[in-house]
């Protein structure tokens, strides 16, 4: 049957009063979960999953999907306003988003995050609607060597995230890789760098590290500098939160990040964390406004937020067509599907067309609902930057505790957050960028898994990595990117020296 007819049928089901109600409830709950620091989409869906078991399958899955989307939308709020990345995918939003908030442009940052999320989410859903089968086929072709190639390509971003000193960037990334070594080996269970400690066997929690490096460090810096307000700039009227010219300026970034986010989101193992970093890096290279990245560029918020939401839609491709959840939050969603006896996979579209198309249609509706819900709230959230910092700082510290403790109910994680707050501060003083460290935290486990699996596949030989064309092309692209960036740095340095000599 024609996809359009199936989708229209899905819309006619999804637009029933009952389904609309549950999509709305899911969107609101998801946004609240996203706004609360430390409770990411995974924990949010897991906590609210029991609630949905009281409902029939279609409204239940509609509600769960809406919670997932809502949490993705809401996650950017604390990143922009308080520099608290509640989950991995919001880390990069902090960079320009919080800078914008400091400049009194919090409303613009929040509004562009919502608009970008809406456009990318909707375009991503179109991709899911019309290109699911070929994309699922592509996803199946991505074996461990190809994933390793992708990781090598992603590691080339360290060069552009290193700031002035490439060496310091590489040091930061190496520290991130070192942190990932701590704990039990994910495949064989052997302990590494635990020094006999049982607590260390669980490894160092990612959320604790990023909250320490960003939120805790920010409090240390601001309290030390006796900051009175996050932003002293005058806030405009809330209804004039964003200008059309700013949306137009970000449109290119949104489209590019949607394409990046959606296609990478289709690949199993490619989490929103990596995708947001890649989209940001890509934008940094292609944007006309690239000089302002890291200093409050609006495209620096639009790109990661768009990629995050497009990746969310892309993630549904392997989930629905192959039954492979590409991220932990979608794995929890998969368990929700399985509670109702629905088995995602190639036959789901044939055996349960009503279910699949109603859920897809409800996602379109959910996206519109989220935009309508979020845009009016932007002005209210933005006022938060005018709350005196002596009220905000203790709250950030409290959210750091709750956010880190709640992941594993571990005081050790809260302590880790504190320690990384200090580390973050000293890295800042030593001009060592923290983004490569975060990037390595995301990539190193993937790198290890894919490398070891590839070597096993190749019978103990590394030759498999360059005998597969996609893997080779990705690694080559990574190498080429690195060379281009290094050459650019060399030329800039040479020009600066030349300029200095002429001035003298």
């Amino acid at each position: 049957m024609d996809i359009f007819v199936l989708l229209l049928r899905g819309f006619s089901n999804a637009l029933s009063l009952e389904n609309l109600f549950f999509a709305l409830v899911g969107s609101i709950l998801g946004t609240l979960v996203g706004v609360l620091p430390g409770i990411g989409p995974t924990a949010g869906i897991a906590m609210l999953l029991p609630l949905t078991t009281l409902l029939p399958p279609i409204p239940a899955i509609i509600m769960l999907a809406a919670i997932y989307y809502g949490a993705m939308y809401g996650g950017s709020t604390t990143s922009i306003l308080m520099n608290i990345p509640g989950e991995i995918s919001s880390v990069i939003t902090c960079v320009d988003g919080h800078e914008m908030a400091k400049q009194g442009r919090a409303a613009q940052a929040l509004a562009i995050a919502a608009i970008s999320s809406f456009i990318a989410g909707t375009l991503g859903l179109m991709g899911l609607t019309f290109f699911s089968p070929p994309l699922a086929d592509l996803a199946l072709r991505m074996g461990p060597p190809e994933i390793f190639g992708l990781v090598v390509f992603a590691f080339s971003m360290v060069a552009s995230m290193s700031g002035k000193s490439l060496l310091k960037g590489v040091t930061s990334a190496a520290l991130g890789m070192l942190i990932c070594l701590v704990g039990l080996d994910p495949q064989l269970g052997a302990d590494r760098l635990t020094f006999g400690s049982v607590t260390l066997m669980g490894g160092l929690d990612f959320i604790a590290i990023i909250m320490g490096l960003f939120a805790m460090k920010e409090v240390f810096q601001n309290v030390g500098a006796r900051v009175g307000l996050i932003s002293t700039a005058r806030l405009g009227s809330w209804w004039r939160m964003i200008k059309w010219s700013e949306i137009k300026q970000s449109l290119g970034a949104i489209i590019r990040s949607t394409i990046t986010g959606f296609f990478l989101g289709c690949l199993p193992g490619c989490t929103p964390g990596i995708v947001t970093f890649m989209a940001y890096d890509l934008e940094k290279k292609f944007s006309k406004n690239r000089a302002n990245f890291g200093k409050g560029a609006i495209e620096g918020v639009a790109a990661p937020e768009g990629a995050n939401n497009a990746c969310t839609s892309g993630g549904f491709v392997p989930l629905l067509t192959l039954g492979i959840p590409p991220s932990t939050s979608l794995a929890v969603l998969l368990s929700g599907l399985m509670i109702y006896g629905l088995q995602p996979g190639p036959l789901l579209f044939e055996k349960q067309p009503v279910f699949v198309w109603t859920v897809i249609a409800s996602m379109y509706i959910g996206n519109v609902m989220l935009l309508i819900l979020n845009l009016p709230l932007v002005g209210i959230w933005a006022r938060m930057v005018r709350v005196p910092y002596h009220f905000i700082a203790p709250l950030i510290l409290l959210f750091c505790f709750i956010g880190t403790y709640s992941v594993r109910n571990s005081f050790f994680d809260a302590g880790t957050c504190l320690v990384f707050g200090f580390i973050g501060l000293f890295m800042d003083k030593l001009k060592i960028p923290s983004l490569p460290l975060v990037l390595a935290l995301i990539l190193a486990p993937m790198m290890e898994d894919s490398l070891r699996q590839s070597i096993s596949m190749g019978g103990g030989s590394l030759a498999i990595l360059w005998s597969r064309p996609i893997a080779l092309a990705l690694m080559g692209a990574g190498f080429l990117t690195m060379v281009i960036i290094l050459f650019g740095r060399y030329r800039r340095a040479k020009a600066e020296v030349h300029l200095g000599t002429e001035e003298n």
Binding site: L36, I39, M47, S165, L167, V170, T171, A174, L175, M177, L178, C180, L181, D185, Q187, L188, A190, R192, L193, V219, F220, V223, G224, A225, R226, P388, Y389, H390, F391, A393, P394, L395, L397, L398, F401, I402, Y405, S406, N409, F411, A414, G415, L418, G421, F422, L425, K429, L430, K431, A444, M447, E448, L451, R452, Q453, I455, S456, G460, L462
Partner: protein
């Protein structure tokens, strides 16, 4: 940095069980740290004038925030979430806020109870109960 490198190499040797085994990543990380340490040794950045170490006041701020935070997580099991949170917030707020003590006590108490209700009662999060049993 060299120490990190050697630590990783020693760990790689200890757990080595083939190229597709546990030690390969430790070997890679060690292999990155050792050349890095050599480069930093040859080209030291100690002369970097742009590095600004924390001032006395910043050190004091680090202590006044880091210290109570460490005590907060250490004693929470005994004191329970609402009480320890209230104490922690009040101590930090007292140092950084120009507001009167009574007002600090009231708003920090409200935050402690409010977050307790949201996270423990509504979101069913596990939070330590302490001697108060709540």
């Amino acid at each position: 940095m060299g120490a990190f490198g050697f630590l990783c190499l020693i760990e790689a040797y200890r757990i080595w069980n083939g190229w597709d085994g546990t030690g390969v990543m430790a070997l890679i990380v060690g292999g990155i740290f050792i050349p890095l340490s050599v480069i930093f040794l040859v080209f030291p950045s100690s002369g970097d004038k742009s590095i600004l170490w924390p001032s006395k006041r910043e050190w004091f701020s680090l202590g006044i925030i880091g210290g109570p935070f460490a005590l907060y997580i250490f004693f929470m099991n005994w004191l329970g979430y609402p009480f320890s949170t209230w104490l922690f917030l009040a101590v930090v707020a007292k140092y950084i806020s120009p507001t009167r003590t009574t007002r600090i006590i009231i708003w920090t108490g409200m935050v402690a109870i409010g977050t307790y209700v949201v996270f423990k009662r509504y979101l069913m999060m596990y939070l330590p109960t302490g001697f108060l049993g709540i």
